[in-house]
């Protein structure tokens, strides 16, 4: 949930996806769901000489599970806020797992 919320704050911003097939795609983030599937607008594939395969696409949907990295716009991110959210999420998870052993499986 943490990173879903985080990526929601980046909607409308330019990001670069590095996929697990070594393709890198730059574009404007238009949508993100709970699986971190993303929609990008006005895409540009890096190294277009090597990867001309997707030149006829402008807007795409990318499955979250095929993403390796996402290059983020540093200026647009409040890293302190993100660390805060991380601590809260970690604490919440810990409380859950201590209170109910069944939730340890998450």
């Amino acid at each position: 949930m943490l990173f879903h919320s985080f990526f929601s704050t980046l909607i409308g911003k330019k990001i670069t996806l590095h996929l697990k097939n070594d393709v890198s795609i730059e574009g404007t983030l238009t949508s993100i769901d709970q699986f971190l599937n993303v929609k990008l607008e006005d895409i540009k594939v890096h190294n277009a000489d090597k990867y001309p395969h997707l030149l006829f696409l402008k807007n795409i949907f990318v499955r979250g599970s095929v993403i390796r990295y996402v290059d983020l716009p540093f200026e647009e991110v409040d890293t302190a806020l993100l660390q805060d959210a991380t601590r809260r999420e970690a604490q919440l998870l810990k409380q859950k797992s201590m209170g109910d052993p069944k939730t340890l499986a998450v």
């Binding site: 097939n21 795609i25 990867y51 001309p52 395969h53 949907f61 599970s65």
Partner: protein, 88 residues
């Protein structure tokens, strides 16, 4: 829905067809599907496949084919390796 969509699969294939249907798991039903086969020593080949169901979890990415962009591409001049498969 009569939109032509392009799908890149996890094994690096590119399939283009008319989107007839889809479900919550992004399984797709494509009509009049063709596969675009890229090769380093011959021009792009279009293989007719017909009606296709593609499992959602084998899809890397998909998007509507932009007609303008498609027409601007000199397909007979393109020579390139196929896209590598997804390695988790």
């Amino acid at each position: 829905m009569t939109e032509r969509v392009a799908v890149l699969t996890n094994d690096g294939r590119i399939l283009i067809g008319i989107l007839e249907g889809l479900d919550i798991k992004t399984n797709l039903l494509l009509k009049d599907t063709i596969e675009k086969v890229f090769s380093i020593d011959s021009e792009v080949e279009n293989i007719e496949l017909g009606l296709y169901i593609i499992r959602g979890d084998s899809i890397t990415l998909l998007g509507p084919v932009d007609k303008e962009l498609e027409d601007s591409i000199k397909w007979d001049e393109i020579r390139c390796q196929p896209i590598k498969p997804i390695v988790h």
